[in-house]
Symmetry: C2
Subunit: 289 residues, 2 copies
Protein backbone atom coordinates (compact mmCIF):
# COMPACT_ATOMS: atom_id res chain seq x y z
CA UNK A 1 0.00 0.00 0.00
CA UNK A 2 1.48 3.34 -0.98
CA UNK A 3 2.06 5.87 1.80
CA UNK A 4 0.82 8.75 -0.25
CA UNK A 5 -2.28 8.58 -2.39
CA UNK A 6 -1.41 7.92 -6.02
CA UNK A 7 -3.13 10.00 -8.68
CA UNK A 8 -3.74 9.43 -12.36
CA UNK A 9 -2.05 11.87 -14.75
CA UNK A 10 -4.30 14.70 -15.94
CA UNK A 11 -4.49 14.06 -19.67
CA UNK A 12 -6.43 16.61 -21.74
CA UNK A 13 -9.04 13.98 -22.71
CA UNK A 14 -9.42 12.74 -19.16
CA UNK A 15 -9.74 15.98 -17.28
CA UNK A 16 -13.00 16.95 -15.62
CA UNK A 17 -13.70 20.44 -16.91
CA UNK A 18 -16.89 21.41 -15.15
CA UNK A 19 -17.44 21.90 -11.41
CA UNK A 20 -13.85 20.80 -10.94
CA UNK A 21 -13.97 20.95 -7.12
CA UNK A 22 -15.98 17.75 -7.44
CA UNK A 23 -13.23 15.97 -9.39
CA UNK A 24 -10.76 13.44 -8.07
CA UNK A 25 -7.82 11.72 -9.72
CA UNK A 26 -6.94 9.52 -6.73
CA UNK A 27 -6.54 5.87 -7.72
CA UNK A 28 -8.22 4.73 -4.49
CA UNK A 29 -11.34 6.82 -5.07
CA UNK A 30 -11.65 5.81 -8.72
CA UNK A 31 -10.93 2.10 -8.19
CA UNK A 32 -13.41 1.89 -5.31
CA UNK A 33 -16.20 3.38 -7.44
CA UNK A 34 -15.39 0.90 -10.23
CA UNK A 35 -15.17 -2.12 -7.90
CA UNK A 36 -18.47 -1.40 -6.15
CA UNK A 37 -20.36 -0.97 -9.41
CA UNK A 38 -22.15 -4.21 -10.35
CA UNK A 39 -22.38 -3.12 -13.99
CA UNK A 40 -19.65 -1.29 -15.90
CA UNK A 41 -20.28 0.45 -19.21
CA UNK A 42 -17.47 -0.24 -21.67
CA UNK A 43 -17.12 1.85 -24.82
CA UNK A 44 -15.02 0.99 -27.85
CA UNK A 45 -14.95 1.58 -31.59
CA UNK A 46 -15.95 -1.23 -33.90
CA UNK A 47 -14.28 -0.60 -37.28
CA UNK A 48 -17.47 -1.91 -38.92
CA UNK A 49 -19.71 0.67 -37.24
CA UNK A 50 -20.27 4.39 -37.79
CA UNK A 51 -20.97 4.73 -34.05
CA UNK A 52 -19.01 4.01 -30.90
CA UNK A 53 -20.47 1.04 -29.01
CA UNK A 54 -21.24 0.59 -25.32
CA UNK A 55 -21.55 -2.81 -23.67
CA UNK A 56 -22.63 -3.39 -20.09
CA UNK A 57 -20.09 -5.77 -18.52
CA UNK A 58 -18.84 -7.11 -15.21
CA UNK A 59 -15.39 -6.14 -14.05
CA UNK A 60 -13.03 -5.80 -11.13
CA UNK A 61 -9.65 -4.17 -10.63
CA UNK A 62 -6.75 -6.28 -9.47
CA UNK A 63 -3.11 -7.15 -9.90
CA UNK A 64 -2.23 -10.64 -11.05
CA UNK A 65 1.48 -10.09 -10.43
CA UNK A 66 0.80 -8.73 -6.91
CA UNK A 67 -2.57 -10.03 -5.70
CA UNK A 68 -2.15 -8.33 -2.32
CA UNK A 69 -2.29 -4.88 -3.94
CA UNK A 70 -5.16 -2.77 -2.62
CA UNK A 71 -7.45 -0.24 -4.29
CA UNK A 72 -4.95 2.59 -3.88
CA UNK A 73 -2.35 0.78 -5.98
CA UNK A 74 -1.71 0.66 -9.70
CA UNK A 75 -4.14 -2.02 -10.92
CA UNK A 76 -5.48 -3.52 -14.10
CA UNK A 77 -9.17 -3.82 -14.88
CA UNK A 78 -10.40 -7.32 -15.66
CA UNK A 79 -13.62 -7.57 -17.68
CA UNK A 80 -15.75 -10.61 -18.16
CA UNK A 81 -16.96 -11.21 -21.72
CA UNK A 82 -20.41 -11.57 -20.35
CA UNK A 83 -22.71 -9.66 -22.59
CA UNK A 84 -21.32 -9.85 -26.08
CA UNK A 85 -18.46 -11.43 -27.89
CA UNK A 86 -18.05 -8.48 -30.24
CA UNK A 87 -15.58 -6.69 -28.01
CA UNK A 88 -13.68 -9.93 -27.48
CA UNK A 89 -13.45 -10.54 -31.22
CA UNK A 90 -12.18 -7.06 -31.94
CA UNK A 91 -9.65 -7.33 -29.11
CA UNK A 92 -8.45 -10.61 -30.56
CA UNK A 93 -7.29 -8.78 -33.65
CA UNK A 94 -5.32 -6.21 -31.70
CA UNK A 95 -1.60 -6.70 -31.12
CA UNK A 96 -1.67 -8.51 -27.80
CA UNK A 97 1.75 -8.05 -26.27
CA UNK A 98 4.41 -5.45 -25.77
CA UNK A 99 6.43 -6.48 -28.83
CA UNK A 100 4.39 -4.11 -30.96
CA UNK A 101 4.64 -1.24 -28.51
CA UNK A 102 6.73 1.84 -29.09
CA UNK A 103 10.37 2.14 -28.17
CA UNK A 104 9.28 3.75 -24.92
CA UNK A 105 10.74 1.92 -21.95
CA UNK A 106 7.81 2.71 -19.71
CA UNK A 107 6.11 -0.34 -18.27
CA UNK A 108 3.80 1.46 -15.91
CA UNK A 109 0.06 1.11 -16.34
CA UNK A 110 -0.13 4.85 -16.16
CA UNK A 111 2.28 5.47 -19.01
CA UNK A 112 1.27 8.02 -21.58
CA UNK A 113 -1.37 6.77 -23.99
CA UNK A 114 0.28 8.73 -26.77
CA UNK A 115 2.75 5.88 -27.10
CA UNK A 116 1.12 3.19 -29.23
CA UNK A 117 0.37 0.66 -26.51
CA UNK A 118 -1.00 -2.69 -27.65
CA UNK A 119 -4.70 -3.35 -27.28
CA UNK A 120 -8.05 -1.88 -28.11
CA UNK A 121 -8.63 1.66 -26.79
CA UNK A 122 -11.61 1.58 -24.41
CA UNK A 123 -13.36 3.85 -21.97
CA UNK A 124 -15.00 2.31 -18.90
CA UNK A 125 -17.59 4.13 -16.81
CA UNK A 126 -19.26 3.43 -13.46
CA UNK A 127 -21.93 5.64 -11.91
CA UNK A 128 -23.65 5.36 -8.54
CA UNK A 129 -26.76 7.45 -7.97
CA UNK A 130 -27.02 8.61 -4.33
CA UNK A 131 -29.86 11.10 -4.41
CA UNK A 132 -32.25 13.33 -6.33
CA UNK A 133 -31.34 16.93 -5.52
CA UNK A 134 -34.50 18.99 -5.81
CA UNK A 135 -33.78 22.72 -5.93
CA UNK A 136 -35.95 25.83 -6.31
CA UNK A 137 -35.37 26.06 -10.06
CA UNK A 138 -35.12 23.30 -12.66
CA UNK A 139 -31.64 24.53 -13.61
CA UNK A 140 -30.29 24.02 -10.08
CA UNK A 141 -31.63 20.47 -9.91
CA UNK A 142 -28.91 17.88 -9.62
CA UNK A 143 -28.04 14.38 -8.46
CA UNK A 144 -25.87 13.22 -5.63
CA UNK A 145 -23.62 10.68 -7.32
CA UNK A 146 -20.22 9.06 -7.49
CA UNK A 147 -18.96 8.41 -11.00
CA UNK A 148 -15.65 7.28 -12.42
CA UNK A 149 -14.19 6.73 -15.84
CA UNK A 150 -11.06 4.93 -16.90
CA UNK A 151 -9.24 5.04 -20.22
CA UNK A 152 -7.04 2.17 -21.29
CA UNK A 153 -6.10 -0.57 -23.70
CA UNK A 154 -7.88 -3.92 -23.64
CA UNK A 155 -6.27 -7.22 -24.57
CA UNK A 156 -7.43 -10.81 -24.20
CA UNK A 157 -5.88 -12.68 -21.29
CA UNK A 158 -4.21 -15.76 -22.76
CA UNK A 159 -2.52 -17.17 -19.65
CA UNK A 160 -4.87 -19.72 -17.97
CA UNK A 161 -3.61 -18.90 -14.47
CA UNK A 162 -4.32 -15.22 -14.97
CA UNK A 163 -7.76 -16.01 -16.40
CA UNK A 164 -8.51 -18.11 -13.33
CA UNK A 165 -7.33 -15.24 -11.09
CA UNK A 166 -9.65 -12.85 -12.92
CA UNK A 167 -12.64 -15.23 -12.80
CA UNK A 168 -12.30 -15.52 -9.04
CA UNK A 169 -11.82 -11.77 -8.67
CA UNK A 170 -14.98 -11.06 -10.68
CA UNK A 171 -17.09 -13.78 -9.01
CA UNK A 172 -16.10 -12.57 -5.55
CA UNK A 173 -16.88 -9.05 -6.75
CA UNK A 174 -20.54 -10.09 -7.13
CA UNK A 175 -20.73 -11.68 -3.65
CA UNK A 176 -17.54 -11.92 -1.55
CA UNK A 177 -16.80 -15.57 -0.85
CA UNK A 178 -19.00 -16.86 -3.65
CA UNK A 179 -16.08 -18.41 -5.54
CA UNK A 180 -15.31 -20.81 -2.69
CA UNK A 181 -19.04 -21.22 -2.09
CA UNK A 182 -19.66 -22.57 -5.58
CA UNK A 183 -18.44 -25.58 -7.57
CA UNK A 184 -14.76 -24.78 -8.21
CA UNK A 185 -12.31 -25.04 -9.80
CA UNK A 186 -13.83 -24.62 -13.26
CA UNK A 187 -13.29 -27.60 -15.51
CA UNK A 188 -11.21 -27.45 -18.67
CA UNK A 189 -14.18 -26.62 -20.88
CA UNK A 190 -15.33 -23.78 -18.63
CA UNK A 191 -11.84 -22.36 -18.39
CA UNK A 192 -11.29 -22.40 -22.13
CA UNK A 193 -14.74 -21.03 -23.00
CA UNK A 194 -14.37 -18.01 -20.72
CA UNK A 195 -12.93 -14.88 -22.23
CA UNK A 196 -11.36 -12.31 -19.95
CA UNK A 197 -10.22 -8.88 -21.07
CA UNK A 198 -7.50 -7.01 -19.25
CA UNK A 199 -7.47 -3.24 -19.52
CA UNK A 200 -4.15 -1.53 -18.87
CA UNK A 201 -5.18 1.85 -17.50
CA UNK A 202 -3.79 5.00 -19.12
CA UNK A 203 -5.65 7.43 -16.91
CA UNK A 204 -8.96 8.07 -15.20
CA UNK A 205 -10.97 10.42 -13.08
CA UNK A 206 -13.87 10.51 -10.65
CA UNK A 207 -16.60 13.00 -9.93
CA UNK A 208 -18.55 13.12 -6.71
CA UNK A 209 -21.47 15.35 -5.76
CA UNK A 210 -23.01 15.31 -2.30
CA UNK A 211 -24.98 17.65 -0.10
CA UNK A 212 -28.22 19.62 -0.27
CA UNK A 213 -29.41 21.76 -3.21
CA UNK A 214 -27.58 24.99 -3.98
CA UNK A 215 -29.77 27.67 -5.53
CA UNK A 216 -28.93 31.19 -6.60
CA UNK A 217 -29.26 33.85 -3.93
CA UNK A 218 -32.03 35.67 -5.81
CA UNK A 219 -34.26 32.60 -5.62
CA UNK A 220 -33.35 31.77 -2.03
CA UNK A 221 -34.30 35.30 -0.96
CA UNK A 222 -37.59 35.30 -2.85
CA UNK A 223 -40.28 34.38 -0.29
CA UNK A 224 -42.76 33.74 -3.09
CA UNK A 225 -40.47 30.99 -4.29
CA UNK A 226 -39.20 29.52 -1.02
CA UNK A 227 -42.70 29.57 0.45
CA UNK A 228 -44.02 27.42 -2.37
CA UNK A 229 -41.22 25.11 -3.60
CA UNK A 230 -40.03 22.22 -1.40
CA UNK A 231 -36.25 21.78 -1.59
CA UNK A 232 -34.10 18.94 -0.42
CA UNK A 233 -32.73 15.57 -1.37
CA UNK A 234 -34.44 12.24 -2.01
CA UNK A 235 -31.74 9.71 -1.03
CA UNK A 236 -31.40 6.85 -3.52
CA UNK A 237 -29.78 3.52 -2.75
CA UNK A 238 -29.70 -0.01 -4.06
CA UNK A 239 -31.17 -2.75 -1.91
CA UNK A 240 -30.39 -6.48 -1.98
CA UNK A 241 -33.64 -8.32 -1.29
CA UNK A 242 -34.16 -11.53 0.65
CA UNK A 243 -32.49 -14.28 -1.45
CA UNK A 244 -34.97 -16.38 -3.48
CA UNK A 245 -33.98 -20.04 -3.80
CA UNK A 246 -33.97 -21.46 -7.32
CA UNK A 247 -35.90 -24.50 -8.59
CA UNK A 248 -33.07 -27.03 -8.09
CA UNK A 249 -31.63 -25.59 -4.88
CA UNK A 250 -31.16 -28.26 -2.21
CA UNK A 251 -29.40 -26.21 0.47
CA UNK A 252 -32.02 -25.30 3.07
CA UNK A 253 -30.34 -22.25 4.56
CA UNK A 254 -28.92 -19.21 2.84
CA UNK A 255 -25.16 -19.52 3.44
CA UNK A 256 -23.60 -17.24 6.04
CA UNK A 257 -21.34 -15.28 3.68
CA UNK A 258 -24.37 -14.45 1.52
CA UNK A 259 -26.73 -13.46 4.32
CA UNK A 260 -24.04 -11.31 5.88
CA UNK A 261 -23.23 -9.62 2.58
CA UNK A 262 -26.91 -8.79 1.99
CA UNK A 263 -27.33 -7.32 5.50
CA UNK A 264 -24.08 -5.34 5.48
CA UNK A 265 -24.52 -3.97 1.98
CA UNK A 266 -28.02 -2.76 2.78
CA UNK A 267 -26.86 -0.98 5.92
CA UNK A 268 -23.90 0.69 4.23
CA UNK A 269 -25.61 1.86 1.03
CA UNK A 270 -28.62 3.31 2.83
CA UNK A 271 -26.49 5.13 5.36
CA UNK A 272 -24.20 6.50 2.62
CA UNK A 273 -27.15 7.90 0.66
CA UNK A 274 -28.61 9.65 3.73
CA UNK A 275 -25.20 10.90 4.76
CA UNK A 276 -24.65 12.38 1.29
CA UNK A 277 -28.07 14.06 1.48
CA UNK A 278 -27.27 15.69 4.83
CA UNK A 279 -23.65 16.59 4.10
CA UNK A 280 -22.90 20.20 4.88
CA UNK A 281 -21.03 21.95 2.10
CA UNK A 282 -17.60 22.84 3.50
CA UNK A 283 -16.59 25.37 0.91
CA UNK A 284 -17.58 29.01 1.24
CA UNK A 285 -19.80 30.81 -1.19
CA UNK A 286 -22.84 28.55 -1.06
CA UNK A 287 -24.02 27.89 -4.59
CA UNK A 288 -22.36 25.09 -6.42
CA UNK A 289 -24.60 24.91 -9.42
Amino acid sequence: MPRTELEYPKEPYGTVKRYSPRASYALRTIHTIINTSPILHVSFNDPQSPFPTILPMLGQMGSFSRPSADEGDVLDLYLHGYVSSRLINISRHQPSDASSASTSTSTSSTSSPSSPLPGLPVCVAASHLDGLVLALTPNAHSYNYRSAILFGHATLVSEPAERLYAMQLITDGVVPGRWEGSRVPPNKGELSSTSVLKVRIATGSAKIREGPPGDDRADKEDKNVTGRVWTGVVPVYQVLGEPVAGPYNEVAEVPGYLGEYVRETNLVTKEAAFEAARKVAVKKGGEDE
Copy 2:
Protein backbone atom coordinates in the same frame (compact mmCIF):
# COMPACT_ATOMS: atom_id res chain seq x y z
CA MET B 1 -50.02 5.25 -30.64
CA PRO B 2 -49.19 2.69 -33.30
CA ARG B 3 -51.40 -0.39 -33.50
CA THR B 4 -48.51 -2.75 -34.06
CA GLU B 5 -45.29 -2.55 -32.10
CA LEU B 6 -42.60 -0.73 -34.05
CA GLU B 7 -39.13 -2.23 -34.16
CA TYR B 8 -35.72 -0.73 -34.86
CA PRO B 9 -33.91 -2.02 -37.94
CA LYS B 10 -31.34 -4.72 -37.26
CA GLU B 11 -28.11 -3.07 -38.35
CA PRO B 12 -24.95 -5.21 -38.17
CA TYR B 13 -23.43 -2.96 -35.49
CA GLY B 14 -26.60 -2.90 -33.42
CA THR B 15 -27.52 -6.56 -33.38
CA VAL B 16 -27.35 -8.54 -30.18
CA LYS B 17 -25.28 -11.57 -31.07
CA ARG B 18 -25.19 -13.56 -27.87
CA TYR B 19 -28.13 -15.19 -26.10
CA SER B 20 -30.34 -13.66 -28.76
CA PRO B 21 -33.61 -14.94 -27.26
CA ARG B 22 -33.07 -12.23 -24.68
CA ALA B 23 -32.91 -9.49 -27.32
CA SER B 24 -35.65 -7.04 -28.25
CA TYR B 25 -35.83 -4.41 -30.95
CA ALA B 26 -39.24 -3.05 -29.94
CA LEU B 27 -39.23 0.72 -29.60
CA ARG B 28 -41.53 0.55 -26.57
CA THR B 29 -39.26 -1.83 -24.67
CA ILE B 30 -36.10 0.12 -25.48
CA HIS B 31 -37.57 3.58 -24.84
CA THR B 32 -39.04 2.47 -21.50
CA ILE B 33 -35.68 1.18 -20.29
CA ILE B 34 -34.04 4.47 -21.33
CA ASN B 35 -36.74 6.68 -19.76
CA THR B 36 -36.69 4.88 -16.41
CA SER B 37 -32.90 5.07 -16.13
CA PRO B 38 -31.90 8.05 -13.96
CA ILE B 39 -28.40 8.05 -15.45
CA LEU B 40 -27.58 7.39 -19.11
CA HIS B 41 -24.08 6.63 -20.33
CA VAL B 42 -23.29 8.50 -23.53
CA SER B 43 -20.31 7.53 -25.64
CA PHE B 44 -18.72 9.61 -28.39
CA ASN B 45 -15.36 10.16 -30.03
CA ASP B 46 -13.42 13.30 -29.21
CA PRO B 47 -11.07 14.00 -32.14
CA GLN B 48 -8.46 15.13 -29.58
CA SER B 49 -8.46 11.79 -27.75
CA PRO B 50 -7.04 8.36 -28.56
CA PHE B 51 -9.95 6.81 -26.60
CA PRO B 52 -13.71 6.93 -26.93
CA THR B 53 -15.29 8.89 -24.06
CA ILE B 54 -18.27 8.08 -21.85
CA LEU B 55 -20.20 10.74 -19.97
CA PRO B 56 -22.98 10.04 -17.48
CA MET B 57 -25.92 12.29 -18.42
CA LEU B 58 -29.63 12.83 -17.87
CA GLY B 59 -31.98 12.21 -20.75
CA GLN B 60 -35.53 11.49 -21.80
CA MET B 61 -37.15 10.43 -25.04
CA GLY B 62 -39.83 12.63 -26.53
CA SER B 63 -41.25 14.23 -29.64
CA PHE B 64 -41.28 18.01 -29.83
CA SER B 65 -43.35 17.97 -33.01
CA ARG B 66 -45.88 15.55 -31.47
CA PRO B 67 -45.68 15.81 -27.68
CA SER B 68 -48.52 13.31 -27.25
CA ALA B 69 -46.40 10.52 -28.74
CA ASP B 70 -45.88 7.63 -26.34
CA GLU B 71 -42.96 5.30 -25.71
CA GLY B 72 -43.91 2.99 -28.57
CA ASP B 73 -43.56 5.79 -31.12
CA VAL B 74 -40.59 7.11 -33.07
CA LEU B 75 -38.96 9.53 -30.63
CA ASP B 76 -35.83 11.63 -30.21
CA LEU B 77 -33.59 11.43 -27.19
CA TYR B 78 -32.99 14.72 -25.37
CA LEU B 79 -29.85 14.93 -23.25
CA HIS B 80 -29.04 17.54 -20.68
CA GLY B 81 -25.52 18.92 -20.84
CA TYR B 82 -25.27 18.28 -17.17
CA VAL B 83 -21.96 16.67 -16.55
CA SER B 84 -19.52 18.10 -19.02
CA SER B 85 -19.43 20.65 -21.74
CA ARG B 86 -17.01 18.64 -23.85
CA LEU B 87 -19.74 16.76 -25.69
CA ILE B 88 -21.64 20.02 -26.21
CA ASN B 89 -18.57 21.71 -27.65
CA ILE B 90 -17.87 18.90 -30.07
CA SER B 91 -21.51 18.79 -31.12
CA ARG B 92 -21.40 22.53 -31.76
CA HIS B 93 -18.86 21.94 -34.49
CA GLN B 94 -20.98 19.34 -36.22
CA PRO B 95 -23.26 20.33 -39.07
CA SER B 96 -26.44 21.06 -37.17
CA ASP B 97 -29.24 20.85 -39.68
CA ALA B 98 -30.44 18.84 -42.61
CA SER B 99 -28.83 21.12 -45.21
CA SER B 100 -25.67 19.09 -45.00
CA ALA B 101 -27.44 15.76 -45.10
CA SER B 102 -27.34 13.40 -48.03
CA THR B 103 -29.72 13.54 -50.94
CA SER B 104 -31.79 10.89 -49.20
CA THR B 105 -35.36 12.04 -48.81
CA SER B 106 -35.87 10.03 -45.64
CA THR B 107 -36.94 12.12 -42.69
CA SER B 108 -37.57 9.27 -40.34
CA SER B 109 -35.51 9.00 -37.18
CA THR B 110 -34.93 5.39 -38.03
CA SER B 111 -33.41 6.13 -41.42
CA SER B 112 -30.24 4.29 -42.27
CA PRO B 113 -27.15 5.63 -40.53
CA SER B 114 -25.13 4.88 -43.63
CA SER B 115 -26.44 8.12 -45.11
CA PRO B 116 -24.30 10.93 -43.72
CA LEU B 117 -26.79 12.39 -41.26
CA PRO B 118 -25.78 15.61 -39.52
CA GLY B 119 -24.58 15.43 -35.95
CA LEU B 120 -22.09 13.67 -33.75
CA PRO B 121 -22.34 9.86 -33.77
CA VAL B 122 -23.14 8.69 -30.25
CA CYS B 123 -24.09 5.52 -28.43
CA VAL B 124 -26.35 5.76 -25.39
CA ALA B 125 -26.70 2.95 -22.85
CA ALA B 126 -29.03 2.34 -19.91
CA SER B 127 -28.80 -0.69 -17.62
CA HIS B 128 -31.05 -1.74 -14.74
CA LEU B 129 -29.79 -4.43 -12.41
CA ASP B 130 -32.65 -6.64 -11.14
CA GLY B 131 -30.87 -9.48 -9.40
CA LEU B 132 -27.71 -11.46 -8.69
CA VAL B 133 -28.16 -14.91 -10.22
CA LEU B 134 -26.11 -17.35 -8.15
CA ALA B 135 -25.62 -20.66 -9.93
CA LEU B 136 -23.76 -23.87 -9.07
CA THR B 137 -20.68 -22.87 -11.06
CA PRO B 138 -19.03 -19.47 -11.46
CA ASN B 139 -19.51 -19.72 -15.24
CA ALA B 140 -23.27 -20.03 -14.93
CA HIS B 141 -23.50 -16.99 -12.66
CA SER B 142 -25.44 -14.14 -14.18
CA TYR B 143 -27.51 -11.03 -13.50
CA ASN B 144 -31.15 -10.38 -13.98
CA TYR B 145 -31.15 -7.08 -15.85
CA ARG B 146 -32.79 -4.88 -18.44
CA SER B 147 -30.39 -3.00 -20.69
CA ALA B 148 -30.83 -0.91 -23.80
CA ILE B 149 -28.56 0.87 -26.22
CA LEU B 150 -29.36 3.46 -28.85
CA PHE B 151 -27.21 4.65 -31.73
CA GLY B 152 -27.79 8.07 -33.23
CA HIS B 153 -26.58 11.52 -34.18
CA ALA B 154 -26.48 14.31 -31.62
CA THR B 155 -26.99 17.97 -32.43
CA LEU B 156 -27.46 21.01 -30.21
CA VAL B 157 -31.05 22.22 -29.92
CA SER B 158 -31.05 25.84 -31.06
CA GLU B 159 -34.80 26.57 -30.95
CA PRO B 160 -35.69 28.05 -27.50
CA ALA B 161 -39.18 26.50 -27.52
CA GLU B 162 -37.75 23.04 -28.15
CA ARG B 163 -35.13 23.59 -25.45
CA LEU B 164 -37.88 24.51 -23.00
CA TYR B 165 -39.83 21.40 -24.02
CA ALA B 166 -36.75 19.24 -23.38
CA MET B 167 -35.99 20.90 -20.04
CA GLN B 168 -39.49 20.14 -18.81
CA LEU B 169 -39.33 16.59 -20.19
CA ILE B 170 -36.04 15.91 -18.39
CA THR B 171 -37.06 17.59 -15.09
CA ASP B 172 -40.32 15.65 -15.01
CA GLY B 173 -38.27 12.55 -15.81
CA VAL B 174 -36.53 12.95 -12.44
CA VAL B 175 -39.78 13.40 -10.49
CA PRO B 176 -43.08 13.59 -12.41
CA GLY B 177 -44.71 16.96 -11.73
CA ARG B 178 -41.50 18.57 -10.49
CA TRP B 179 -41.41 21.13 -13.31
CA GLU B 180 -44.70 22.70 -12.21
CA GLY B 181 -43.67 22.20 -8.59
CA SER B 182 -40.57 24.38 -8.98
CA ARG B 183 -39.94 28.02 -9.92
CA VAL B 184 -40.81 28.12 -13.63
CA PRO B 185 -40.55 29.30 -16.33
CA PRO B 186 -36.78 29.61 -16.42
CA ASN B 187 -35.59 33.17 -16.87
CA LYS B 188 -33.71 34.34 -19.93
CA GLY B 189 -30.30 33.66 -18.39
CA GLU B 190 -31.26 30.13 -17.36
CA LEU B 191 -32.73 29.36 -20.75
CA SER B 192 -29.68 30.60 -22.63
CA SER B 193 -27.16 28.91 -20.35
CA THR B 194 -28.77 25.49 -20.70
CA SER B 195 -27.50 23.25 -23.46
CA VAL B 196 -29.73 20.48 -24.73
CA LEU B 197 -28.61 17.79 -27.14
CA LYS B 198 -31.06 16.01 -29.38
CA VAL B 199 -30.15 12.54 -30.61
CA ARG B 200 -31.87 11.36 -33.77
CA ILE B 201 -32.00 7.60 -33.34
CA ALA B 202 -30.60 5.37 -36.09
CA THR B 203 -31.27 2.10 -34.33
CA GLY B 204 -31.19 0.40 -30.97
CA SER B 205 -31.74 -2.80 -29.08
CA ALA B 206 -32.56 -4.12 -25.63
CA LYS B 207 -31.53 -7.19 -23.69
CA ILE B 208 -33.45 -8.60 -20.79
CA ARG B 209 -32.59 -11.51 -18.52
CA GLU B 210 -34.95 -12.78 -15.85
CA GLY B 211 -35.57 -15.97 -13.95
CA PRO B 212 -33.64 -18.39 -11.75
CA PRO B 213 -30.13 -19.75 -12.45
CA GLY B 214 -29.64 -22.22 -15.31
CA ASP B 215 -26.82 -24.68 -14.75
CA ASP B 216 -25.60 -27.53 -16.91
CA ARG B 217 -27.31 -30.86 -16.39
CA ALA B 218 -24.09 -32.54 -15.19
CA ASP B 219 -23.85 -30.12 -12.26
CA LYS B 220 -27.56 -30.23 -11.47
CA GLU B 221 -27.41 -34.02 -11.25
CA ASP B 222 -24.30 -34.08 -9.07
CA LYS B 223 -25.53 -34.44 -5.47
CA ASN B 224 -22.09 -33.49 -4.16
CA VAL B 225 -22.56 -30.13 -5.83
CA THR B 226 -26.28 -29.48 -5.27
CA GLY B 227 -26.01 -30.60 -1.67
CA ARG B 228 -23.37 -27.99 -0.95
CA VAL B 229 -23.96 -24.95 -3.20
CA TRP B 230 -26.95 -22.67 -2.58
CA THR B 231 -28.52 -21.52 -5.84
CA GLY B 232 -31.03 -18.80 -6.44
CA VAL B 233 -31.44 -15.10 -7.03
CA VAL B 234 -30.74 -12.10 -4.81
CA PRO B 235 -33.26 -9.52 -6.06
CA VAL B 236 -31.75 -6.04 -6.48
CA TYR B 237 -33.78 -2.84 -6.64
CA GLN B 238 -33.30 0.87 -6.17
CA VAL B 239 -35.06 2.54 -3.26
CA LEU B 240 -36.02 6.19 -2.89
CA GLY B 241 -35.53 7.13 0.77
CA GLU B 242 -37.61 9.49 2.90
CA PRO B 243 -37.01 12.98 1.44
CA VAL B 244 -34.52 15.07 3.47
CA ALA B 245 -35.37 18.80 3.54
CA GLY B 246 -32.53 21.14 2.60
CA PRO B 247 -31.14 24.02 4.70
CA TYR B 248 -33.29 26.78 3.14
CA ASN B 249 -36.46 24.75 2.68
CA GLU B 250 -39.52 26.57 4.06
CA VAL B 251 -42.27 24.20 2.92
CA ALA B 252 -43.22 22.11 5.94
CA GLU B 253 -44.72 19.13 4.15
CA VAL B 254 -43.26 17.04 1.37
CA PRO B 255 -45.50 17.84 -1.62
CA GLY B 256 -48.07 15.25 -2.66
CA TYR B 257 -46.63 14.51 -6.10
CA LEU B 258 -43.24 13.79 -4.53
CA GLY B 259 -44.46 11.61 -1.68
CA GLU B 260 -46.62 9.64 -4.06
CA TYR B 261 -43.76 9.16 -6.52
CA VAL B 262 -41.47 7.87 -3.76
CA ARG B 263 -44.11 5.40 -2.51
CA GLU B 264 -45.16 4.14 -5.94
CA THR B 265 -41.62 3.78 -7.28
CA ASN B 266 -40.56 1.75 -4.25
CA LEU B 267 -43.51 -0.59 -4.62
CA VAL B 268 -43.00 -1.14 -8.33
CA THR B 269 -39.22 -1.63 -8.38
CA LYS B 270 -39.20 -4.05 -5.47
CA GLU B 271 -42.03 -6.09 -6.93
CA ALA B 272 -40.38 -6.16 -10.36
CA ALA B 273 -37.09 -7.46 -8.92
CA PHE B 274 -38.83 -10.27 -7.00
CA GLU B 275 -41.00 -11.09 -9.96
CA ALA B 276 -37.92 -11.39 -12.19
CA ALA B 277 -36.27 -13.65 -9.61
CA ARG B 278 -39.26 -16.00 -9.53
CA LYS B 279 -40.04 -15.97 -13.23
CA VAL B 280 -40.38 -19.43 -14.69
CA ALA B 281 -38.43 -19.89 -17.90
CA VAL B 282 -40.97 -20.50 -20.67
CA LYS B 283 -38.64 -21.90 -23.24
CA LYS B 284 -37.79 -25.59 -23.32
CA GLY B 285 -34.34 -26.97 -22.80
CA GLY B 286 -33.53 -25.53 -19.42
CA GLU B 287 -30.05 -24.07 -19.53
CA ASP B 288 -29.72 -20.57 -20.83
CA GLU B 289 -26.15 -19.86 -19.90
